[in-house]
Symmetry: C2
Subunit: 321 residues, 2 copies
């Protein structure tokens, strides 16, 4: 196959570029055409991942395909949107059929799991990088914004945090993977390479949660975004923050907690909601945990069990260079 045929085969003709309920025209014309159902906005978000910065340079292609799409689609989950389509602009150092096949398979697996269709893109030559733009349908008046948190709300997260950040020293070979039991390795690598966008939860929260986002920069930093947009203070009970068991096993309790508070790359949802909504929510989504509350004020307060503010230094999101 020549270059054009390789791209055609692994992208245009791939499983993830076929069908799609609200895709009336896919790849092949000047634009794709998507149908946004009546009563919905078109939600759109763009993410770029650069080799050596957002993922290690030797990243396996299948896992990279999964992760590239998951990271972007998570933004649709955070708005309570239903995925429709995505475009992929990929810059490749060379066209390697084996690599393309694996990347395309990983992309297709995540696309199928999220119900989203590849509708366009561009392939260029250069250092490895991917830009994904996701499009979805968000119901008017029920979209989950960062700006609606109300004093008295409880603050929740959709599951345990810190696993993806704890995988980073393994990916960087700072901790030898061969010295680590598989029962610890697997959940950490899964969290890093195959984060699951919380689409079902995001859609459940429509019209219920007052504010929401997906945790990409780290819990404290992202709660800061809600606090700022909503002009409130988010109080977090440190003892209530669910820390990935494998992260604590690998790094110890203190470093595991640090990953959960500021490691980033979790792609769980953080949201605020009236306490009265909790019981039915947790019946349907038992991994959801209350970690704090919304108060008058500004910023984020991390509290110990005595209710005292905890001063801690956090390095935040960690790049690969």
């Amino acid at each position: 196959m020549n270059e054009f045929e390789l791209i055609q085969h692994f992208f245009t003709d791939s499983a993830c570029a076929q069908g799609g309920e609200n895709v009336s025209l896919g790849i092949g014309d000047d634009c794709a055409l998507l149908q946004v159902p009546a009563g919905h906005s078109c939600a759109v978000s763009t993410d770029t991942l650069v080799s050596g910065i957002h993922f290690p340079e030797n990243a396996p292609a299948f896992l990279l395909g999964q992760r590239t799409l998951a990271v972007a689609t998570s933004d649709l989950a955070a708005m309570g949107a239903t995925p429709i389509g995505f475009t992929l602009a990929i810059t490749l150092p060379q066209l390697d059929a084996t690599w393309l096949q694996a990347f395309s398979a990983g992309l297709s697996a995540m696309a199928q799991s999220c119900g989203i269709t590849l509708v366009g893109g561009d392939t260029t030559r250069g250092p490895l990088a991917m830009t994904v733009t996701v499009l979805g349908a968000a119901p008017l008046q029920q979209t989950l914004l960062r700006s609606g948190a109300q004093v008295g709300d409880v603050l929740c997260v959709s599951g345990p945090l810190g696993a993806a950040a704890a995988a980073v020293p393994l990916l960087l070979d700072e901790i030898k993977a061969q010295d680590t039991p598989a029962a610890i390795l697997q959940p950490l690598f899964d969290a890093y390479w195959s984060p699951q966008p919380q689409l079902a939860l995001g859609q459940y929260l429509r019209g219920k949660a007052h504010a929401a986002l997906d945790i990409s920069d780290g819990l404290l930093a992202d709660c800061g975004h809600i606090a700022k947009a909503s002009k409130v203070c988010l109080q977090i009970q440190q003892s209530q923050v669910p820390v990935s068991v494998a992260a604590s096993q690998l790094l110890g309790a203190a470093a595991g907690l640090k990953c959960a508070l500021s490691g980033g790359d979790d792609y769980h949802l953080a949201f605020t909601i009236a306490a009265a909504q909790l019981a039915p929510l947790q019946r349907q989504f038992p991994a959801v945990q209350v970690i704090g509350q919304v108060c008058a004020g500004e910023g984020v307060q991390l509290l110990d069990q005595a209710g005292q503010s905890v001063t801690q230094s956090y390095s935040g999101y960690r790049h690969f260079n």
Copy 2:
């Protein structure tokens, strides 16, 4: 200003990120929210431009900002769509306030001229490259596709071709700009750096043209796309192809014609339409010229004045490396 403030100032707070008739939520949340009017599809297209491949490495930032957005928005024109919003993923070798200010000003100038709003994006560190995803509203049943050309249609282009391709040897310093009169230089540089997406014409052609696209790869290659998608033959009368006067003045008639036929980067529209539609069309858009017709068959035939097929070798789109 620190890095975050620079990006905030020159993108989030820039003129091109404000307002927008169908933008209900702009930059700042997990997604932007766009309103696609009833009876319309959401048209979406993604283009990547890489330094040294799609534009010269020393490209002036203002002109690059203009061109980046124009190239992408031209795809909306080619579908007959009305622009709504765009996202910009930009990879920068360093954050240089002077460069960012000029790029942002060029982007904003083109955004205003096209009526399109910056609604999201991503900034990363690396070799200079930009990926733009444009979104617009395309009326159902009246969208301009590549696939509808009908035998008996006339083939038209929206204006003179070849100027952008003729600018390339000047940009590469193969022809010294200081030896070239300004009256020749200016239209060539304008065509290259500030192509004007043919939005008004695209919207006029809704429900009238049977097939359309924007000329980015070169007239012959792009007509080949219509021929293939529509399963017809496009016959082009070589003598009817409008060649940029400045291109011919710079390079001579033969090389100017070659630029017009296969140079690319024109961003004029090529379209097929019933001959009966021509008179009112050309009254409103006098630059539109008939260059051929649609016949049964396949591929593209270039004909001389005797009606004989012209065999010619064309290098096609020229990269900068």
